[in-house]
Amino acid sequence: MDKNRRRIIKSIGAATASSLAAPYLNLAHAQGSPIPLGVALPLTGNAGAYGPDMAEAAKRTAAKINAGGGVLGRKLELFIEDSESSAAVAANLSHKFINVHKAQALVGYWGTPEGMSSRPIAIQNKVVLMVSSAANAITEGDTQGYVWRFQLKATDWGTVISRATLNKLGFKSVGVMGLQNAFVLPIMKVFEEQMKANGRQVVDSLIYNPEQPSYRAEVERIFGKNPEAVYCFGLLPDFVSIMKEVYRGGFESKVVALSIMADAEGKFVQAVGPKVAEGIRHFQPMPDVAAPGYKKFLQLMDAPADRVLLFPPNTHDQIAITALAMEKAKSPMAVDWSKQIIPVGNGPGQEVDDVVEALKLVRAGTAINFQGAGSTCDFTPNGDQLGRGMGQWIIRNGKSVFVEYAKP
């Protein structure tokens, strides 16, 4: 029995060692010629709907840059990994990108937990972290210039939604339901403050927990007070449950939500059917679809001209700004090029919306002001993004119909 045990221990040891030593077996990228970028995206988990398009955008943007001569004469090499929409997994991936692949840029990071858990790792290792997440806390405090948000920050979402409500939608009384989530709470706070300050009635407001089997009690409490409209801020799975309860209860308040809940690449209407979804308004930060940079991005993605891609343009801009800042700093080290993010994004300089053209100008020593696909790529010194707006849609016959675009 003892011999048998030893044999098993040996085989486990061998299996573990070979699994951990696997990266050594591929020496192609150990030579160091391409510039590695770590890309953490939600390919599975509760945000799994968004990752695949962002991955495609990352690949096509890197391929375009590489075809146009690369960065500092070297090619970009992407390491795309699944963050599983999890803070702990994202932190482990950040360690892998930095320590195994020697990446100096960590891009993607869709959700707030992923961004928050990777923030201290990026700062300690002096590596740039670029997130698509909204919670204000990600860029608060001393980030030492290593954390950059490619998204409208959460309080600005609240500003745009409340302004649209006050000026255009005209609801006199509203109820508010928000998911217990770090990016939702600042939106709710700003929205409720604005409503009250402008004489509108907030009949009731509650925060609900994720992954509940039912939201009947919450729905009855808010919708039962019969406000003109109920504003729901959360994610797709909870909103599907909420709307089923609203339909069952026969409530008549209008519903306003976020597009990551009420659209989610068409998954909401698939889940509840067009009858339940009819008339729901939804808001989401989006690119300016009239901007030439966005139109070029659609061509890059081989997408139809009327397609609204919410997150992939951010991924494009993250990689583009990384490339431009590296080229301007003449260094692939984040400690050098992180200081060039504002000069290439905000200018002053020649406005340019194509990353390959922009790289040529930077190589020629021309000052540029890069206009991205997802925004104008302007930043505050603490890493918050300016120049991104929000879209508003309404669901009619199972389709989201575009209403308007507004900036905070």
Binding site: R5, I8, I9, I12, A15, T16, S19, L20, A22, P23, Y24, L25, N26, H29, L41, L43, T44, G51, P52, A55, I80, E81, D82, E84, S86, A87, A88, A91, N92, L93, H95, K96, I98, N99, V100, T112, P113, M116, S117, R119, P120, Q124, A135, A137, Q180, N181, A182, V184, L185, I207, N209
Partner: protein, 300 residues
């Protein structure tokens, strides 16, 4: 790469400490703990809060977290087992675990809710240079793992260990022999709880950021996977089990480097399939786990 392996080593160590705690409670004591995730979260939050809000140093924070989790576990076991049987105890632990997670999520004044606690201090974090810190943390994690293993082995081989096994195998026989079964079980659950508190504290030291999403029920699944794979009741096995689970989870990320044709989203799905297949294969070919439980040998 060395740095990454060091970090993985730390991850394996605190996962193994958690697996040891579960193995002690369930493997040796026969007390199913479906609230493992909640108690683990309690340990992480208690340790972080002792440092961030109470101003304690990391040593006292860890000791405090171990005491808090041990007390809560002991209390849960005492209240539940006085009036119910073992099967209901498992359900109660599930409920308590979920309750603890919801407290972490909703009590903003204490835990900062969904935003989580940032800047969790680390032992000697201000005295050791950042580039060497991970080596120190690995050494600390290894020492703590070995100390836990030694302690649990000592308990398992002591008269109390034999009593634990007796209660696990047949509590009626143990009670008939005059043993206080309730008190034995409360102690088993509390000791295991203390070790869960240690693992939770290490989690906070490693990530330096804790939020409720890190304590989803997948932690429970990995904990049971580690104990089942290692061999229920065998402490050494729980360590191998935790190492194997982590190697499978993290090692499978490197598949893409070995097979470049594999797409990222394909790999995301394939990884989960590989982990599932690995477990099924283990249960078919080695249902008793890697190692077997320590048994007292009698010379022929």
């Amino acid at each position: 790469m060395t740095s990454y392996l060091v970090l993985l080593g730390i991850l394996v160590c605190f996962s193994a400490i958690l697996a040891l705690a579960l193995n002690f409670q369930w493997g040796l004591g026969g007390m199913v703990n479906f609230g493992l995730t909640g108690f683990y979260a309690l340990g992480a939050y208690a340790s972080a809060l002792f440092m961030l809000k109470g101003g304690a140093n990391s040593f006292f924070a860890v000791v405090g977290a171990m005491a808090v989790v041990a007390a809560v576990c002991g209390l849960v076991a005492f209240i539940t087992l006085r009036v119910t049987e073992e099967d209901y105890f498992a359900i109660v632990t599930l409920g308590v675990g979920e309750m603890l997670r919801l407290v972490a999520l909703n009590e903003d004044w204490l835990t900062k809710g969904a935003l989580g606690l940032t800047g969790v201090p680390r032992p000697f974090g201000d005295r050791i240079a950042p580039e060497y810190y991970q080596y120190f943390l690995l050494a600390l994690a290894v020492v703590l793992l070995l100390a836990t293993l030694w302690f649990l082995n000592a308990v398992a081989r002591s008269p109390f260990g034999r009593l634990m096994r007796a209660v696990r195998e047949d509590d009626v026989v143990a009670a008939t022999l005059g043993k206080n079964v309730l008190w034995v079980r409360v102690r088993i659950f509390a000791i295991g709880g203390g070790i869960i508190g240690l693992a939770g504290s290490m989690h906070g030291f490693y990530y330096q950021y804790i939020d409720p999403t890190q304590f989803s029920n997948i932690v429970l699944a990995y904990g049971f996977m580690a104990v089942i794979a290692g061999g229920r009741g065998a402490h050494g096995g729980a360590i191998f089990g935790a190492a194997a689970v982590m190697a499978l989870l993290e090692g499978s990320r490197f598949l893409k480097d070995l097979v470049p044709a594999l797409d990222s989203d394909q790999l995301a799905a394939i990884r989960i399939i590989i982990i599932g297949v690995g477990l099924i294969a283990l249960l078919i070919y080695r249902p008793q786990g890697f190692l077997r439980e320590y048994r007292l040998k009698v010379s022929p």
